[in-house]
Amino acid sequence: MKAVDLLKKAIGIRKDVDSFSKRVPENVSIWYYVIHDPQALIGLIIIALFIVWSIVEGSLQIIGGYLKDPALGWILLPHNPLAPPNAALSLKPPSLSYLFGTNLEGEDILSRILYAAPKDATAAFLVVGLAILFGGLLGTVAGYFGGWLDEALMRITDAFLAIPGLILAIALSILIGPGYYSVLIALTIVWWPIYARLFRGQTLTIKYRGYVEVSRLFGESSLKIIFKHVFPNAIDPVVAYAALDFGTVILTYSTLAFLGIGVQPPYPEWGAMASNGLSFFPGVWWYTLFPSLTILLVVISFILLGDRLQDIISGRLTY
């Protein structure tokens, strides 16, 4: 979260407290605003490209895996991202055939970046999704019933949130063992408390709304009320937060890879690539620059969109 705030500051997004005006004409879906808002639209387009590409490329890799034909995974890429080391191509600067240059092993950096995308996308959506599911349900139930359950959840999440997320993730992934999935598990364990808190907070306001109280009068069971009224209404504001959070997950995931935890070579990973390239910086600037820029671009797009979504959902947007 801190990273997001810093980034937001760096790229000049701030909550403009002086400009007010709350009323957004009703009856119009959120997407309408997103499409008419340059900031959100740019974010949305980049994210859409990222997701579509990840789905296409990811499917090819999976199909390739089943057919025992790894080449399928790079049929859309300019070069084989997992090509065997080739000293002749080592550390070539960007050129027409190698747009982002090559790395020490002589592999095409652009191809490797594109090849790595699906893993990042999966990480972001899986971690946030699982965090919403587990954290969200726990937070909602705790917030709704209150009492010792709530107290216990608060203490546990307090403990989690007291430890910097990155350090906890590092510790956990070392504990679980290296590899992609262990990083995902570690990240989910780090991530759920935030969502538990978010949903709990939402639930605390929703549970006193008239429609929940009235449902109780109708004799509706608590579980039914939670699933019919509380959870669905708590989700909206969380969605905007989650949009911001996808970026943060990718950033953390890449940082872990940068530190050598996570996806293992020879598979490419943005953070790991940036880290490998760093030792050649600044002479071989492209080696670390392009992977880093990719991370930044994706993270910023999520911020651009998420930030606007928050404004729209909270009705703070001027139109």
Partner: protein, 323 residues
């Protein structure tokens, strides 16, 4: 010369689908010491009117026309010059008071800052301690509990009603020549509301401050104002002396509003009701804006829009009052 003259004011809002006209040809004179109640239902353009006078409309708004403040056309001023008129010249208590306070500054700093500006513009030198005392006294006047501790808090640490009173206190500290108050008592309980109204009136008498009091509640407007302006669908429908308007409303809308105010007990007879709902700006009727709900509407009302006619010392937008 009136202190404030509004001429042909029109306000438009740019929205994704185009432009929505929200104020239509507003004409209004405010004499020094006037207290004018601006009454209208939700969405009738009350806040828009207030905001255009202090030039704090949201960025997607366009204002056309003239607003003369002591002879200077505020709408023609560059933004940098406008600052000199805000605060001590014209101050507006916003409907959403949280937005008028700086979230990262303590209440105390903000109120003392306002006072400093006041004395600076008057070329008076006042010691710091007396600034503090003046602020403290004003917070007590607006009936805030524990004013000393409240001064050391940030806006988000206060309740809606408390913030509302702090902004009122700020308005009163600045002693502006025109105070625009947009629903200033909506979050307050009736007994505090009565105290705040009394306080505003007292200050008005003392400094000859002019007051534009925006409210949707006729009974509050009645208690506060000498003149009453009825706004509907972005137009002035009636403007005149409060007592006169209340005693013999000239516009069918005003009449309907007053008649539908609860009076007596249900056993003594049903309440009069105005059928229908206030209009949408995206879907205004042809002719008079009020014609869909008007019991007296006749052909002409559906064809052309009535002007704002003089009628028994008031202004009324209705063909029935046009001799």
């Amino acid at each position: 010369m009136p202190q404030l003259e509004i001429r042909d004011l029109e306000v438009y809002y740019k929205v994704p689908f185009g432009t929505i006209k929200t104020l239509f040809g507003i004409q209004l004179d405010v004499e020094k010491g006037d207290s004018i109640g601006i009454v209208g239902e939700s969405g009738s353009g009350k806040s828009t009117l207030g905001l255009s006078i202090v030039r704090l409309l949201p960025p997607n708004a366009i204002a056309r026309g003239h607003i003369f403040f002591n002879g200077t056309d505020l709408l023609a001023l560059p933004a940098s010059k406008m600052k000199d008129y805000r605060g001590t010249g014209i101050f507006m208590i916003m409907q959403d008071p949280f937005n008028s306070l700086n979230p990262v500054k303590k209440v105390r700093e903000q109120l003392i800052e306002a006072l400093r500006i006041k004395y600076l513009r008057r070329n008076e030198r006042v010691p710091e301690e007396s600034l503090y005392d003046e602020v403290l006294k004003k917070l007590k006047d607006v009936k805030l509990p524990d004013p000393e501790t409240i001064m050391d808090r940030y806006p988000h640490q206060l309740s809606g009603g408390q913030i509302q009173r702090i902004v009122i206190a700020m308005g009163l500290l600045l002693e502006p020549s025109i105070l625009i108050a947009d629903e200033p008592t909506s979050a307050l309980d009736v007994s505090v509301q009565a105290q705040i109204i009394a306080l505003i009136k007292e200050l008005q008498d003392k400094y000859k401050m002019s007051l534009l009091f925006i409210t949707h509640d006729l009974s509050v407007a009645y208690a506060v104002s000498e003149k009453l302006l009825i706004l509907y669908g972005g137009r002035i429908l009636e403007f005149g002396n409060t007592e006169d308007v209340m005693n013999s409303p000239a516009h069918p809308y005003t009449e309907g509003l007053l008649k539908s105010f609860p009076r007596g007990n249900y056993r003594d007879g049903k309440l009069y009701t105005l059928q229908g709902a206030p209009p949408l700006f995206t879907d205004l009727p042809n002719g008079c804006v009020f014609n869909p709900r008007c019991p007296y509407a006749f052909d002409r009302c559906y064809q052309e829009e009535p002007g704002l006619y003089d009628y028994m010392g008031r202004k009324v937008r209705c063909f029935l009052r046009h001799e």
